[in-house]
């Protein structure tokens, strides 16, 4: 198992090191907050801002959102839906921090699907196609290496 936030940090350090301060900033939130905040894409209409609408393509939100989505999907498969709903509601009520999302080792099919999702969201979030491919490759490479970042068994996707 590997924590999503660790994968994000490693990937960003590799492909977009200028975004590392953002990862540092986001690291002070629990995963639920991070995902909620990163999911918002609309421009902010604030007085005395520099201007609205000049959203730039960042790798961090793409990687974090897709990995969290995969982690949630895999975790949900093992948990009863009703119980999950009740827990979610309870968590909202008491605002308990969500435990860090983790990813198990992924199969080749899962990695391929993950790569597609990454490319898809990258394009939607305004990332350049070449950078999007670099990001997707970096994520797949990082997950291939296992939890501690050391090279693992050659994965089915390679």
């Amino acid at each position: 198992m590997v924590a999503v936030r660790d994968v994000v940090r490693d990937v960003v350090a590799e492909v977009a090191p200028e975004e590392l301060p953002l990862v540092d900033g986001l690291a002070s939130y629990d995963d639920g907050t991070v995902v909620r905040r990163l999911s918002r894409t609309g421009p902010r209409r604030e007085p005395l801002g520099f201007g609205w609408g000049e959203v730039i393509g960042l790798a961090t939100p793409v990687v974090w959102l897709v990995l969290d989505q995969v982690a949630q999907r895999l975790a949900d498969a093992a948990v009863d839906g009703t119980a999950k709903g009740a827990r979610g509601l309870l968590r909202r009520l008491v605002r308990r921090r969500r435990p860090p999302a983790t990813l198990p080792a992924l199969t080749a099919d899962q990695l391929a699907e993950l790569r597609r999702d990454l490319l898809d969201l990258s394009i939607r979030r305004g990332l350049d196609a070449q950078i999007a491919a670099e990001v997707a490759d970096a994520v797949v490479r990082r997950l291939d290496r296992g939890p501690d970042g050391s090279p693992g068994e050659p994965g089915p996707a390679s």
């Binding site: 200028e18 301060p21 540092d24 900033g25 986001l26 902010r44 007085p47 520099f50 201007g51 939100p61």
Partner: protein, 961 residues
């Protein structure tokens, strides 16, 4: 003149932001106060409508003019009725409401920064700035921006935009960097610095406090003030829409709700408009501090070009944005023309805001019975100062920009048109001129509002052009303030006139020319004269005097009028110089050092037309005296002669003003409005001196004598003529001068161009020669003008602090100020009126008479039964006196709103009074016969009161009550 290489500094003159925000605050406070009053009146179950019904008005079908007239003609009774049955909510409510709004606003203002900087939304800078590089950059740029210490910086790591935002208070601001910007710091450091400098500029430009204070006030208004009012509106529609008099209330309720919706849009648009200009100021400051202008180029693609419809749609959408378009921001960096322009939207919004605010404040003043001249003028002055602050600064900036760049100045007429349309819309939406109706009876009079606004912007622009051309000091702020203050004072007269007379005229107010003429004439002569039918001259005289007296009732009226020509006259006093003006060097460092605008000609060219006009006025006064001298010999009516004298003397002063203005227009073509006003003002004063001299020496020149008195010098006459002739003539003289100075059609203008140039050049050369004499004359003229204004202020001040007594107001109304026009009344309405008359005091009065008469008769019967004679029944005297008191109270109460019943009511009051007086006199003189007559009279009165009861019962029966 400044070219492309010498950009005009946007700080050449204040931006006027504070005035614009203050206008919004005034609008929100006035509007929420009126909302509270509406709701509080509804909660207190006050009944203002019944007093109107009892006064004989039918709010459902009577035109607004009749509602006003019927109330005014019985103002004593109406005021007493309103005090008793429809008192305004205690002033403490209003003060408490303001305190609540202020407390909520303050709480929200303090809470907003904490909410925006809460944990979970942003992180401290230290969390993301491990090496301290961002902190060092912030400190460095803060020093560049002139901040004593760097602001607090937080980071929103989830925000993908490469922007930032500042919030909090100017003294304790927080800059929030968006995640995208932090990421861009290493890839695009120029952009990082540009954005940061822009945000720091907002702090330096003092935008933060005022912006978030407005945000807080707006949210409190929407969340605290509006909901109870909407509930009130819904409740009214639900409960009252079936009522008989709903047709009278529906326009008021609907307009109230409409204005609330309008305000929401208005405040949002006005705030967005101000914020857009603040962004450009911040951009310019950032670039001045070293931000790379290229950072603005990379921000976004230029706006796509489309068809006319698409462009209009885009322009409409942009009105709601908090930031200007990127291409507009980029071009403003090269040429900040956008900050010096006079645009339609802010003008319209300012006009609407001022119209609504002034109407609301005037409503509250009337409701609380605070109607004194000072209070009314203070309200007008507040509205005018807000308009002048916003529009005056905008116009001044436009004039300065045009002067520095050599471009054509924007049209003051267009600016006035937009402002006037806004003012008219605001006033009409808030209910001025409509009272209980949907539309005013004379909607075309709203055009006067537009004309007044156009005159205001025209005067301001022309004076600004004059001052900009002559001023050589370091800053224009002082002269701009003088000019804008004078404009505010003049505009306050307009608001005052409109509120006291214009709105009533628009609502259809009618007056009796002969009645008003007679009251003016008897006031002047000191005794009642004859009452001939009204002539055309009477009509003109009454109109002029009514209009003039409504304006002149304020002690500051003449000061405002005199300021219209003294302000431009002062521009001739500074000594001309050969060097470029110092303010030009600061405002546009690379500008060509020639004079910014056409230099005014010598002072003599302005003063001589005044003298020529004055001489013409003197001749007119002599001719008028000679004509009147002949007329007096054959005239049969003293009233007609007096009107002919007063009107003729005013006309002589206007002739003086017109001749002076025409001469000045020819002599000073480059600054013709200021010159025409100065000349007209001077000529009117000289003309008045001639009229006063003729009358003070009446009889010394036989052919010019009017009053058939022996020759003597009578200086007291000047004092009598001053309020009757000079005071109404001076405002009119300014109107005449303005009309003369109006621009001519283009074809006529072309022919004059060569002469205009010659006149301007000639003036320049003649200026230094006789400067000392001319300056002394100008100073004397200024002193005379101010002395006249002061005399007027001193004369009016005692009355201006006194609220109008209801009895006095009623007397004015009955002297012809109000006339009821014929309008049919349905049986139902008649029944409601007499019912209201009974309920609000009529029934009580009839009962009172019945009881006193019964007790009196019982006491007399007992005394007679005891065999007492007239000299031993003094104990019944108090009962007789009480019937007299009843008659006095009945006389102060409403007349019965039915002609037949009213005849009986008048008879009852008369009989009761006679009976009471006879009774007391008979007891004093021990006259048994007179006492018996008194008792018979009171018995008659009793029968009459029964007849009134019967008639009212019949009317109520016919009306289905």
């Amino acid at each position: 003149m400044a070219g492309a290489s010498s950009r005009v500094d946007e700080r050449a003159l204040g931006a006027g932001t504070t005035a614009r925000f203050t206008l919004l605050v005034a609008l929100l406070v006035a509007s929420s106060s009126v909302m509270l009053l509406y709701v509080a009146l509804a909660l207190a179950a006050t009944d203002g409508l019944s007093c109107t019904l009892a006064a004989g008005a039918d709010p459902g079908t009577d035109p607004a003019a009749n509602v006003m007239a019927r109330r005014s003609l019985q103002w004593e009774a109406y005021a007493a009725c309103s005090d008793r049955y429809a008192p305004p909510p205690s002033g403490r409510w209003l003060v408490g409401w303001w305190a609540l709004l202020a407390a909520c606003t303050a709480a929200l203002f303090w809470a907003l920064p904490a909410w925006k900087a809460r944990r979970g939304r942003v992180v401290p800078l230290a969390t993301v700035d491990r090496d301290g590089e961002i902190g060092r950059t912030v400190a460095e740029l803060s020093a560049t921006a002139g901040l004593a210490r760097p602001p607090r910086v937080v980071v929103d790591p989830a925000a993908a935009s490469a922007g930032a935002v500042v919030f909090g208070r100017t003294g304790r601001a927080t800059v929030c960097l968006h995640g995208g910007l932090v990421a861009a710091r290493t890839t695009d450091p120029r952009r990082f610095r540009a954005v940061l400098l822009h945000e720091l500029a907002h702090i330096t430009n003092r935008d933060v406090t005022i912006t978030y204070l407005t945000v807080a006030l707006w949210r409190v208004y929407a969340a605290v003030a509006v909901p109870p009012f909407l509930v009130w509106g819904a409740w009214k529609f639900r409960t009252a829409s079936g009522a008989t008099l709903w047709s009278a209330e529906a326009p008021i309720v609907t307009r109230g709700l409409l204005v609330t919706g309008l305000l929401a849009v208005l405040v949002y648009l006005a705030r967005s408009d101000v914020l857009r200009s603040r962004e450009v100021y911040a951009d310019l400051a950032a670039v001045r501090w070293g931000a790379d202008p290229e950072s603005w180029s990379t921000a976004a693609a230029p706006a796509p070009v489309g068809g006319r419809g698409r462009r209009a749609l885009r322009a409409f959408a942009e009105l709601w944005h908090l930031h200007p378009r990127w291409d507009a921001r980029r071009s403003a960096l090269a040429d900040p023309a956008v900050l010096f322009g006079v645009r339609a939207l802010p003008l319209v919004l300012t006009g609407v805001a001022a119209g609504v605010t002034h109407t609301h404040v005037a409503y509250a003043i009337t409701l609380y019975g605070l109607v004194t001249n000072w209070v009314q003028h203070a309200a007008a002055l507040a509205a005018a100062a807000l308009v002048a602050g916003v529009v005056g600064i905008a116009l001044w900036r436009a004039v300065v920009y045009a002067a520095l760049t050599g471009q054509r100045a924007s049209s003051s007429a267009r600016a006035g048109l937009w402002l006037g349309l806004g003012m008219a819309a605001g006033a009409a939406a808030a209910g001025q001129g409509t009272v209980n109706e949907w539309l005013p009876a004379r909607p075309w009079l709203l055009a006067l509002v537009v004309v007044a606004a156009m005159a205001f912007t025209w005067w301001l622009t022309r004076c600004a052009q004059l001052w900009v051309a002559v001023w050589r000091g370091r800053s224009l702020r002082g002269v701009a303030l003088l000019n804008v203050s004078a404009a505010a004072l003049a505009l306050s007269l307009w608001f005052l006139w409109w509120q006291s007379l214009g709105a009533a005229l628009t609502a259809g107010w009618s007056f009796d020319v002969a009645g008003i003429r007679d009251s003016f004439v008897s006031f002047f002569v000191g005794r009642e004269l004859d009452h001939p039918p009204a002539s055309l001259l009477d009509r003109a005289y009454v109109l002029v005097t009514i209009v003039g007296s409504a304006v002149a009732s304020s002690p500051l009226a003449l000061l405002a009028v005199v300021a219209l020509w003294v302000t431009p006259l002062l521009a001739w006093l500074p000594r001309p110089g050969a060097d470029p003006p110092r303010w030009v060097r600061d405002a546009a460092p690379g500008a060509d050092p020639t004079s910014p605008g056409p230099p005014p000609p010598g002072l003599r060219r302005v003063l001589v037309p005044g003298l020529i006009g004055g001489a013409a006025g003197g001749l007119a006064a002599v001719a008028h005296s000679a004509w009147l001298h002949v007329r007096v010999q054959t005239a049969t009516s003293a009233t007609t002669v007096t009107v002919a004298f007063l009107a003729g003397a005013i006309l002589a002063l206007l002739v003086a003003a017109a001749v002076a203005a025409v001469t000045a227009r020819v002599a000073v073509p480059a600054h013709r409005l200021p010159a025409a006003l100065i000349a007209a003002g001077a000529a009117a004063l000289v003309g008045f001196a001639a009229v006063a001299a003729l009358r003070a020496s009446d009889g010394c020149v036989p052919a010019l004598g009017i009053w058939n008195v022996p020759c003597s010098w009578n200086p007291a006459m000047v004092q009598r003529l001053f309020p009757q002739i000079l005071v109404p003539a001076l405002p009119l003289a300014m109107l005449v001068a303005g009309a003369v100075a109006l621009p001519r059609p283009r074809a006529a203008r072309r022919g004059r161009r060569s002469f205009d140039r010659a006149a301007t050049v000639g003036g320049q050369t003649s200026r230094p020669r006789s400067m000392a004499v001319a300056r002394s004359c100008a100073l004397a003229l200024v002193a005379t003008g101010l002395a006249v204004a002061t005399v007027h202020a001193v004369q009016r001040a005692p009355n201006a602090a006194r609220p109008l007594d209801p009895g006095e107001a009623q007397r004015f109304a009955r002297q012809g100020m109000y006339v009821v026009v014929d309008a049919p009344v349905s049986a139902r309405s008649r029944a409601l009126q007499v019912e209201a008359w009974l309920d609000l005091g009529g029934d009580e009065l009839l009962d009172r008479f019945y009881r006193h008469r019964r007790d009196l008769f019982a006491a007399v019967t007992t005394a007679v039964g005891e065999g007492r004679s007239i000299d031993r029944i003094d104990d019944v005297r108090p009962l007789c006196a009480e019937i007299g008191d009843f008659a006095r109270a009945a006389d102060r109460y409403f007349r019965v709103p039915d002609p037949e019943a009213d005849k009986l009511w008048v008879k009852l009051v008369k009989l009761a009074w006679e009976g009471s007086q006879n009774c007391q006199q008979a007891l004093d003189a021990d006259q048994a016969d007179q006492f018996n007559t008194a008792m018979r009279t009171l018995a008659d009165a009793q029968d009459t009161s029964h007849a009134i009861d019967d008639r009212i019962d019949a009317l109520m029966g016919q009306g289905g009550l």
